[in-house]
């Protein structure tokens, strides 16, 4: 049985549509217009124990909503899900002792007290054996290099240090499943790298199941073998990170270095010219036409060096999200305006 099983999971919200101006505010006291937002539209997903899966998607795609559903913070509008055999939104203590949720920049530690006090509270809440607690705490603090900060009030820690403390607090009870919602948001590159390194190491030694949402492709590339792309509440891709390029990019990048200083004047006939600095040029060429274009270039010009590459992953994903958002706007424009429900 999978650690996480999701079947046709749905979540929709009713969102108040506030119009601009005082008159609209006054009218809103008596009659309000609501829009139904389908944040998650019937997703199916299986995650095996020990997998490290990334959820990718533009803002508002349904990633965080899915994590909230799986951690029992919200209840679904339809569908089913089990995590470690538990229905999350029943919020059974047996389940709550087996998972942890870390949301970037959301503090679960006591703001005015040193983190070690919050850790002690976690020990009692999760009923962790004192010896196990001391061992796990020391191990985590050493891995994250935060031992010297344990006696410092949380409010006096930097953002990166606080995130390390949050992670420590979340892992003290050795959860089987960890949900991470943008754990590196707002951190500098060094802190991001440290968190990535820690998560990779911890997942390898403990073999826990981790679901991660992040906008930083470096997080995903460093940590996850499997990527699930969500857009408009639906899963549009589930596979390896490199597979995204094959699935969503229709072009390749052809880099050519011509012999001598002279550049051909008609490069645009081979494809879209991305860069042109004599004697080098970069062309965006349709994937299906790459072989033909390459042989033409080689036959028609003196070429010193040539390479064919996939476009950068971040570019492919950005294009994919942009395409998806454009479709959403077009769909919304095409949809007839429904009469607002009375409140």
């Amino acid at each position: 049985m999978s650690a996480i099983q999701i079947r046709n999971l749905q979540k929709s919200y009713r969102v108040y549509q506030k119009k601009e101006g005082l008159a609209a505010s006054l009218a809103g006291l008596f009659r309000r217009e609501y829009r139904t937002v389908e944040a998650v539209k019937g997703i199916d997903l299986d995650v095996e124990g020990g997998e490290f899966v990334a959820f990718l998607g533009p803002n508002g795609a349904g990633k965080t909503t899915t994590l909230k559903l799986l951690s029992g913070v919200i209840s679904p509008t339809g569908g089913e899900a089990t995590v470690l055999g538990h229905v999350p939104w029943r919020r059974e203590n047996d389940y709550r002792r087996r998972f942890a949720l870390v949301m970037g920049q959301k503090n679960q530690l006591w703001w005015d007290l040193p983190a070690q006090e919050s850790f002690k509270l976690h020990q009692k809440i999760y009923r962790i054996d004192p010896a196990d607690f001391a061992r796990t705490r020391d191990e985590l603090c050493e891995l994250l290099d935060i031992t010297r900060l344990l006696q410092q009030p949380v409010r006096e820690l930097s953002l990166g240090e606080r995130m390390k403390m949050e992670l420590t607090a979340a892992l003290l009870h050795s959860p089987d499943v960890l949900f991470l919602d943008e754990p590196t948001i707002g951190l500098d590159v060094v802190a991001q790298h440290n968190i990535q390194k820690f998560l990779k190491h911890y997942q390898e030694i403990r073999g826990i199941t981790i679901l991660l949402t992040s906008h930083y492709m470096k997080d995903v590339a460093a940590l996850c073998k499997r990527v699930v792309v969500i857009a408009r509440g639906e899963i549009i891709y589930d596979g390896s990170l490199s597979g995204i390029v094959d699935a969503f990019s229709g072009h390749k990048v052809l880099s050519v270095q011509f012999a001598g200083e002279r550049m051909p004047g008609d490069l645009a006939r081979y494809g879209e010219v991305l860069e042109e600095v004599a004697p080098k040029a970069k062309l965006r060429v349709d994937r299906t036409a790459i072989a033909k274009v390459l042989s033409s270039v080689l036959a028609e010009h003196a070429v010193e060096d040539v390479s064919v590459e996939d476009p950068p992953l971040e570019e492919v994903i950005a294009e994919m999200f942009a395409r998806n958002q454009a479709t959403e706007v077009a769909d919304a424009a095409a949809k007839p305006v429904a009469a607002p429900p009375a409140t």
């Binding site: 965080t64 913070v73 919020r91 007290l113 009692k124």
Partner: protein
């Protein structure tokens, strides 16, 4: 059970530690709360001097000052500053999530935090309180009989529980309306007049006096003070305490039911 007690103890201990972080605010907040006591004594002295008669609705000047001092004690138990608005803020800003994902009961946690805050405050305030009551000892008719004194303490403890669960229930409404400050303002207004906080409820004209009899608010200030001063006939004490216990039970159930319903309709605000 032992594990649960240990959890309660650590929550309690951490809440005490948190309360002691801001020393200046704590010292000022503790000591300055005695000023209203002094002003009320002057106020009622002036009222009786102006009225030109020995008693108002059965209360003499000494009685009413003793009453006010006693309601100060009841209010110390029953008032819950920041509880409902704090729950509202936690719902609005998403902090309530931690009670949903961790194996911890939100109501139990809030109750322990409140007990810790009250204990810390009154442990320090006990000295000044004792001094004020000693200075004002001549206003009191003397110690009541032991059974009445026991009833008084029972009523005081229940006034704390009633105040907590009533205000927590109001706080839970924020799962539906997000902002409860206006509702809280209306509640405080009614509480101010109908709990006997400012004056004995016998002063209220009919039909208000009759209406207040059927509300839980009088147990938040008036009732324990009235027991101490012998205004409640001994034969009515048991019934009165049972009604107070009934209100506590009602709000315990209401608070729990609203928390569960609130969790189920929660939309996970605040990211």
């Amino acid at each position: 059970m032992l594990a649960r007690v240990q959890t309660w103890w650590i929550i309690f201990r951490i809440c005490v530690e948190e309360r002691l972080v801001y020393r200046g605010d704590f010292a000022l907040g503790t000591l300055m709360r005695f000023l209203p006591l002094v002003t009320q004594i002057f106020l009622w002295t002036a009222v009786f001097a102006g009225a030109g008669k020995g008693s108002i609705v059965g209360y003499g000047r000494n009685d009413i000052i003793a009453y006010y001092l006693l309601t100060t004690i009841t209010r110390a138990f029953a008032s819950m500053p920041g509880l409902a608005s704090g729950i509202g803020r936690q719902v609005r800003e998403g902090e309530i999530k931690k009670f949903m994902i961790q194996p911890i009961d939100a109501v139990g946690f809030l109750l322990l935090a409140r007990i810790a805050h009250k204990l810390v405050y009154y442990a320090v305030a006990l000295g000044p309180f004792f001094l004020v009551f000693w200075i004002c000892r001549d206003y009191f008719p003397g110690w009541p009989e032991p059974p009445v004194l026991a009833a008084y303490f029972a009523s005081l403890v229940m006034s704390f529980l009633l105040g907590f669960f009533l205000e927590a229930t109001i706080g839970m409404i924020s799962f539906w309306f997000l902002e409860v400050s206006s509702l809280l303002f209306v509640y405080m207004l009614f509480n101010f007049f109908c709990s006997g906080h400012m004056f004995p409820l016998e002063i209220l004209p009919q039909p208000w006096q009759g209406i207040v009899e059927f509300l839980p608010l009088k147990y938040l200030a008036y009732y324990p003070a009235a027991i101490f001063l012998g205004k409640v006939p001994p034969e009515d004490l048991v019934q009165g305490l049972l009604v107070q216990a009934g209100w506590v039970l009602f709000f315990v159930i209401a608070c729990r039911a609203m928390l569960n319903a609130g969790y189920n309709r929660y939309s996970g605000y605040g990211g």
